[in-house]
């Protein structure tokens, strides 16, 4: 508001507008030399400084305003008396410097640098260095234009009121009864009809029997045929094409809702139409879409997930290539287990599953891991290979801390929810909720050196009883003295746990000799689902193996001896029981 009545601001604005809207740049060259607003600014500042030097307490701007008001009053009285032509508004700019005296716009003196000073610029005009002098239209302008287009479109559509009153036709012959040929004899109709031929029949006769494109079902994901549906344009390099064609991407327009597998199908469809002779395509499951630079270099990333909608990805360039045999790690995992959900999309038929398995097997035999043998053997070997791969991934993840929620079984009766953290250095048990019976429970942290083994003791349909064996710190046999495990209720020496059939007794004098002293093992029992139990067991044991834990070896050695002894003297009295 104030700005539009401020001459200085207006001057600056006009100048900037000229410069910014002129595409040729001539305005700027011409106006570069005499930057009037700047010169006024300097003059104004000089005046303000001079006044400040006089020692008044008011700030420069307000003083200037007052001075300006005074001057205006003086000028109005002057105008009345002197020649009016000198003060006609349009000629103000032409007037000599010293004659023009007005308040400088306050923001302008903030910065001497014109380019940094945004206050002199109009907010509607913004310079974008990357688009040169072109300026974007505001949202309002775009909206208005859209409305305008819609209006113009609507103007072309003739509108008819559906509910209007019926007006009988003016012309008498508007409704004209057509005379139909009288009913011919039935026999007569049979013959001529056979000879008649329609345009469709003629057309079909001309076009030979087409072999149906195998990827026809994916044709419906072509976005070019759809109106009003969100589509996506992707350039796809088809890796299977010979050299010259391979370097040029296939431009496809696909519905945003299509899954990646359907995009692959559409690319196959388009490619088979464009290059019917060179391409011998297999089923869609053989191919995958890989991320690509626009220079058609395939990135070393895994392919896009077949199940995801293509709208999820923002790639402009992709490469269709044969699925790399790197994938089987996860593929066999899913495909060899019937009943689990397929890794790839549901559209996969059994043949494709078999294909994938065979491909995976071929890969394995190429690696020399698995010799070629009967199919049933192969399946086992695949599982073994898978197991080794899984172990490998476990080992990779071993140092990573993992936390699980499960229930700790206390005195084989009470349960409380705890958080179990397994990491490279220690295991931690933290009670989640405070139950009134166990207010004394504290956070337990046991160094991994004291962890001996982890096993699933009991497995039901869904639930599993998991046991973590620890070395009891003291050899006194009294669990209560164990400082590292204040949850004494659940910590037991092996002697007491021997009642459980699946956990044979350890420790004590006959076996528990380790480094000249008896090792006592205690354990924590957890109740959780099978899957979590298996995960924890795998992880914890993997850590122990990787750390080459002596304790674990000792534990297993003891157990080995224990089982051999019990099996030898099965009916003998249980002398092991201490």
């Amino acid at each position: 508001m104030a700005t539009y009545s401020n001459q200085h601001w207006l001057l600056s604005h006009i100048r900037n507008s000229f410069i910014s809207t002129d595409d040729t740049g001539i305005c700027e060259t011409v106006m570069l030399s005499d930057d009037m607003p700047k010169q006024y600014l300097r003059k104004f500042q000089a005046a303000a400084n001079a006044q400040a030097a006089q020692g008044t307490t008011q700030d420069g701007y307000r003083r200037a305003q007052q001075r300006h008001q005074q001057q205006q009053q003086r000028r109005s009285t002057d105008t009345a008396s002197s020649l009016p032509s000198q003060h006609v508004p349009p000629r103000i700019a032409d007037a000599p410097f010293h004659d023009v005296d007005f308040v400088c716009y306050p923001g302008l003196d903030l910065s001497d640098d014109e380019d940094l000073d945004t206050s002199t610029h109009s907010f509607d005009i913004q310079m974008y260095p990357e688009v040169g002098a072109h300026r974007f239209r505001s949202n309002t302008a775009q909206k208005l234009e859209k409305l305008d287009i819609a209006k113009r479109k609507a103007a072309r559509i003739k509108s008819v009121n559906y509910n209007e009153e019926a007006q009988p036709p003016q012309r008498q012959d508007f409704f004209k009864r057509k005379q139909l040929p009288s009913k011919p004899a039935k026999q007569a109709t049979t013959e001529p009809a056979e000879q008649q031929q329609s345009k469709l029949t003629a057309q079909l006769a001309r076009s030979p029997q087409q072999t149906q494109n195998r990827f026809m079902e994916y044709a419906r994901f072509d976005g070019t045929a759809q109106v009003g549906m969100p589509t996506k344009r992707i350039n796809v390099y088809v890796n299977m094409l010979p050299e010259p064609e391979r370097n040029y991407p296939l431009k496809i327009c696909v519905l945003s809702t299509a899954k990646i597998i359907e995009v692959i199908g559409l690319v196959c469809y388009k490619a088979s139409l464009q290059h019917p002779d060179v391409l011998q395509l297999k089923s869609v499951q053989h191919y995958a879409l890989y991320m690509t630079e626009d220079n058609d270099d395939m990135d070393d990333f895994p392919p896009l997930d077949n199940r995801e909608p293509c709208s999820k990805f923002g790639f402009s360039h992709l490469t269709l290539a044969e699925r790399r045999p790197l994938a089987p790690v996860t593929r066999i995992d899913y495909h060899t287990q019937p009943g689990t959900k397929s890794m790839t999309s549901e559209e996969e038929d059994k043949g494709a599953l078999a294909d994938a398995a065979v491909q995976a097997l071929q890969h394995i035999s190429l690696n020399g891991d698995v010799p070629d043998s009967a199919a049933s053997d192969q399946l086992d070997q695949v599982k073994a290979y898978e197991q080794s791969l899984l172990n490998h991934s476990d080992m990779m993840e071993a140092p990573i801390s993992a936390s699980y929620r499960l229930s700790l079984i206390d005195k084989r009766f009470f349960k409380c929810d705890v958080n179990l953290v397994v990491c490279w250095e220690r295991i931690e048990i933290d009670q989640l909720k405070n139950v009134k019976f166990w207010t004394q429970k504290k956070f337990v942290s046991t160094p991994i050196e004291f962890v001996a083994y982890c096993e699933i003791v009991e497995q039901k349909q869904l639930k599993a009883l998991m046991r973590i064996w620890l070395k009891a710190k003291s050899n006194s046999g009294l669990a209560t003295s164990c400082t590292s495990a204040p949850m004494d209720a659940s910590s037991m020496t092996l002697n007491t746990s021997s009642a459980s059939p699946s956990s044979p007794p350890f420790g004590g004098s006959p076996f528990g000799l380790f480094g000249g002293q008896t090792i006592r093992f205690k354990h924590y029992d957890f109740d959780t689902d099978v899957h979590t139990a298996e995960k924890i067991c795998r992880k914890l044991n993997c850590i122990l193996v990787m750390r080459a834990s002596e304790l674990r070896k000792e534990f297993l050695r003891l157990r080995q001896r224990q089982t051999s002894v019990t099996s030898a003297g099965s009916s003998a009295k249980k002398q092991l029981k201490l």
């Binding site: 559509i157 008819v160 009121n161 559906y162 007006q167 036709p169 009913k183 009809a193 329609s198």
Partner: protein
């Protein structure tokens, strides 16, 4: 071309000169220009309150009829610059189907309360039939030779009447001929072949059945398992049949071969096809 977001297309018809396509649906009647690339309609009907179920053109394109669930069948004068309504018929119940008699002045209609009407547009006389109570008529058809009228209802039954007329007679005389228990589920369309020797009924049970008019026996059954067959159209020589079904595929069937398998599938639709319009011609020898 995009009809409207909110509705399926209930019926399609083209003007006899094949320059315009008319489509109707819920609260919508639109005419499109087929000669330009413009996908916007050229004529739009405003103020449509209910579902519009059928439309069709008179053979010279002079007028168009529309049938709607507002109980009314309207005749639109298409010669006048903005089309205007020149006749209205009130069926007292939502109209599901309408069909023009080849004599170009009579319109057969089927309503949701089970009534079948034959209305002479010129003299505005009409006759009402009620073939089955508690059943909704889903479609009506009149054979191209003008001798038969068929109506299919939501119980899967198809009724056939014989029409006869003499000169100077306003409305054809209707004689009931036969009731065919055609389908287990609702009939969606019935149509006579151009040679008037076959009748096709399409149904929600995933089949389209072709009936011989000679003896009203089933001639063949085309199966699109698990999908509704919404519409069908014969070629001009009655040798081919197109079907539109809810699996989004339009199929072409050869009716002259023994094995009834579709010979061409027209894929491309992402949703169910609910109506089709096919205009074929006889090639002059």
């Amino acid at each position: 071309m995009r009809f409207v977001e909110t509705s399926q297309v209930n019926a399609l018809d083209r003007t006899p000169d094949k320059t315009r396509l008319a489509a109707c649906g819920y609260q919508c009647i639109r005419l499109y220009d087929l000669e330009s690339n413009c996908t916007a309609p050229i004529i739009n009907f405003d103020g449509v309150q209910k579902n519009v179920t059928r439309l069709g053109f008179q053979e010279d394109g002079n007028w168009m009829y529309t049938a709607g669930e507002d109980h009314r069948v309207r005749i639109w004068d298409m010669i006048s610059a903005p089309p205007h309504c020149s006749r209205v018929f009130d069926c007292q119940a939502p109209v599901n189907a309408a069909c023009l008699h080849p004599n170009q002045v009579e319109i057969a209609m089927g309503s949701q309360n089970g009534g079948v009407y034959l209305w002479d547009v010129k003299s505005e006389v009409h006759e009402q039939l009620l073939p089955e109570v508690d059943a909704s008529i889903q479609d009506v058809a009149i054979s191209p030779d003008g001798h038969y009228m068929a109506a299919g209802n939501n119980k899967g039954n198809c009724y056939i009447w014989e029409l006869s007329s003499s000169p100077n007679q306003h409305l054809s005389t209707i004689t009931a001929r036969v009731k065919i228990p055609a389908h287990n589920r609702a009939i969606l369309r019935c149509k006579f072949s151009p040679d008037s020797r076959m009748l096709v009924t399409t149904s929600g049970d995933g089949t389209a059945c072709i009936w011989k008019i000679e003896d009203f026996s089933k001639w063949c059954e085309l199966v699109i398992k698990g999908y509704w067959v919404w519409d069908a159209a014969f070629s001009a020589d009655s040798k081919w049949l197109f079907t539109a079904s809810s699996d989004g595929i339009a199929r072409l069937w050869n009716l002259k071969t023994e094995t009834k398998k579709s010979i061409r599938d027209y894929t491309g639709h992402t949703k169910a096809i609910t109506a089709l319009s096919f205009k074929d011609e006889i090639v002059p020898d």
